[in-house]
């Protein structure tokens, strides 16, 4: 059956690996993001890897006027429509401390922007009887920590949104996978101190694909982050508030 994947934030290395993986299965991909010059190269890559259609389109989480054209383009394809959300921004916490107005943009990029997009396309997915949504959140959303609690709060909000969307789309035959990656070897983590057990993006992409196929609800990738976060979540707040991890 033919399917179309809309990839939001397709310039990230995780998104690129995922787009390649679905292309190899012959699906169509609409790669969206701000750097359309770079996205065109990725679109060509997807076609070479077997995508039926590979196109680059402008998407900016902070500009909702960029959403409609993408939804319209996806509607032009037959079959199920799927969406994978890889967008998000994580300004360093000290920059946010210096300029609290950065919070608005962080929350738009990581939560409300993609949520608004999903809300816009959900009726079409329901009308077509299903489709999958992959929402990439973060282990940072599981508990607010001193190092990045604004980003964490945005992703926690997105995770809760996805939980609700799952509730809704399941009724129409659709499905939502919430993905919580640990440390992934991307441009975002390159050269940052204190990284450990860093996973290659290709591994994360395969984990996500498997989760979509098996209709998993919430996955941690690599899997052991589920247990790391279980421990972190179990720490009583009166102790946690004094820790810096």
């Amino acid at each position: 059956m033919t399917e179309t994947w809309i990839i939001l934030g397709a310039t990230s290395s995780m998104a690129k690996a995922f787009a390649r993986a679905v292309s190899e299965q012959g699906h169509s991909v609409l790669l969206t993001g701000r750097d359309t010059v770079d996205l065109k190269r990725s679109a060509a890559d997807c076609v070479a890897y077997g995508a039926r259609v590979g196109e680059a389109m402008k998407f900016d989480a902070r500009k909702r006027e960029s959403f409609a054209a993408i939804i319209k383009r996806a509607k032009a394809e037959d079959g199920l429509i799927n969406v994978a959300v890889f967008v998000g921004s994580m300004p360093p916490q000290d920059e946010i401390d210096a300029d609290p107005s950065l919070i608005g943009g962080t929350v738009t990029d990581s939560f409300t922007g993609p949520a608004e997009f999903l809300q816009g396309i959900a009726p079409e997915m329901e009308a077509r009887g299903g489709g999958s949504v992959v929402g990439v959140c973060s282990v940072a959303g599981d508990r607010g920590r001193i190092g990045n609690y604004v980003y964490g709060a945005a992703k926690a909000g997105f995770a809760t949104y996805l939980s609700g969307l799952r509730n809704r789309l399941t009724r129409a035959g659709g499905h939502v996978v919430t993905v919580k990656p640990g440390f992934v070897d991307t441009g975002m983590t390159w050269g940052i101190e204190g990284m450990f057990l860093v996973a290659p993006p290709e591994k994360v992409a395969q984990d996500i694909l498997k989760a979509v196929r098996k209709k998993k609800n919430v996955i941690y990738t690599p899997f052991f982050w589920r247990y790391i976060m279980l421990i972190i979540r179990s720490i009583p707040e009166f102790i946690f508030k004094k820790m810096s991890i």
Partner: protein, 437 residues
């Protein structure tokens, strides 16, 4: 762009380096780095010595610039970013009837790395070197961008192919693929009983792909015995290649001691029946047999290993035999030893190939290995042969430069395109390759 302090090494793990490394994922990021701080590119670091190292300096890791930019199913012309890996291209395109024209012994090599070392494959005698199938490439050098090809800025092209990254960063390349029947190989293996038989078998082989494995521990009448492998692509259905395994830690040094290597080689030789055999394999098993074991270089222990590879002209085959005698008598060789007939095809000033025979042997980095390789290098020079820069870790400029008759042209091009030496790497410094004398 963030820079990361990274320790890395050549594949032989004898030479190591610490550099500030950037890893761009987009062309715009790569261009910004080169505008700001031009630095040599590195890929999968599969060259054995120090060709990919820039100790104490900066390096640009190109492995994330690995997209296919276009493919013409009718002509087989493939446009790729420099960091694309050969094995991945074979995996994607062989089922559709196309293969990279030249594939080196590891599928992890990047396209840009294959160009910068002008690599050869098991079909070199028929089809030539990698650089001969490059239609054009984009070279980034500071703020300059050169699109070059065999007939477009030919001097710079010849200095870039086999040029060890000294002319700038190869950001993308158009290469001509060759048709193949499918993604399986028909492989014929036969025992060869000794040196003279081996040369004759290589000379008379009609196969598209051929390579000889040599038992470099065999002496006397058995000197030069081994197995000739010949392959042709084919179509068919076979099980997928087995999942790759990994060597988790450094092996102890006795793992490759003389009696163990002798025994291994004897068993390896005996594994092929006297009458020979033909089997069907996944292409990756034939072209990249060692890639199935990740980090196999750890088998040589923490001190690493050297690979000696030379080529000598046909009429100097006896010199190569003398080298093999020295190697066999030394008891230092590992099981990895390869003999191949090489054609004349080469595309750059510093390209390795010449019409003749090439011998490659791995030696664990232990007492006596350096002295032996030193002697083999001298014998190569006397035989009018060449050492392979992608493998070399020990030579000196004085010995190496006379082997490359077009070295002066390379130097001249370098002086024009990178006068400040931004792209200089460890191998260039060790061999003093940027000066003529």
């Amino acid at each position: 762009m963030r820079w990361k302090t990274a320790d890395y090494s050549g594949w032989g793990r004898v030479h190591t380096a610490t550099s500030e490394v950037a890893r761009p994922e987009r062309v715009s990021a790569l261009e910004a780095i080169l505008d700001d701080t031009p630095a040599p590119a590195i890929g999968m670091c599969r060259s054995y010595g120090d060709a990919s190292l820039n100790d104490g300096g900066r390096a640009i890791d190109m492995t994330r610039m690995n997209r296919v930019l276009g493919f013409d199913e009718a002509t087989g012309v493939l446009d790729v970013e420099g960091g694309c890996q050969i094995g991945e291209l074979a995996r994607i395109f062989a089922p559709r009837g196309w293969l990279p024209a030249v594939m080196p012994g590891t599928g992890f090599a990047t396209v840009a790395g294959c160009i910068a070392n002008d690599v050869h494959g098991k079909n070199h005698h028929g089809i030539g070197s990698f650089g001969e199938h490059v239609i054009s490439m984009t070279l980034l050098n500071g703020t300059a961008k050169h699109v070059i090809g065999p007939k477009r800025n030919a001097g710079l092209f010849k200095a870039t192919v086999g040029g060890l990254g000294q002319t700038g960063v190869i950001s993308s390349a158009k290469i001509q693929m060759i048709p193949c029947k499918g993604d399986v190989m028909m492989v014929t293996e036969r025992r060869i009983e000794g040196w003279d038989d081996f040369l004759e078998a290589l000379d008379t082989s009609k196969a598209t792909y051929s390579v000889g494995w040599i038992d470099a521990t065999a002496q006397g009448n058995a000197l030069g015995r081994g197995i000739l492998e010949e392959g042709e692509t084919g179509a068919g259905l076979i099980p997928k290649p087995k999942k790759s395994k990994s060597v988790p830690f450094n092996a102890p040094s006795f793992a490759l001691s003389k009696p163990i290597v002798r025994l291994f080689n004897k068993l390896y030789y005996g594994r092929v029946p006297k009458s020979g055999r033909t089997s069907v394999k996944p292409i990756s098993d034939f072209f990249f047999p060692l890639d199935a074991i990740h980090n196999w270089n750890r088998l040589y222990g923490k001190r690493g290993f050297h690979q000696f590879q030379c080529v000598v002209p046909i009429e100097q085959a006896d010199a190569l035999r003398d080298m093999l005698v020295k190697i066999a008598n030394s008891g230092l060789a590992s099981p990895l030893a390869v003999l191949k007939r090489m054609g004349a095809g080469r595309a750059g000033y510093m390209s390795f190939p010449m019409e003749g025979y090439t011998l490659a042997v791995d030696f664990p980095n232990r007492a006596g290995a350096e002295a032996l390789i030193n002697m083999l290098e001298e014998m190569t020079l006397h035989a009018g042969g060449r050492l392979y820069l992608a493998k070399d870790a020990l030579a000196t400029g004085r010995r190496l430069k006379p082997m490359y008759s077009e070295h002066a042209k390379y130097v001249a091009e370098m002086a024009k395109v990178d006068p400040d030496g931004h792209f200089t790497t460890d191998i260039i410094r060790r061999l003093d390759l940027r000066s003529e004398a």
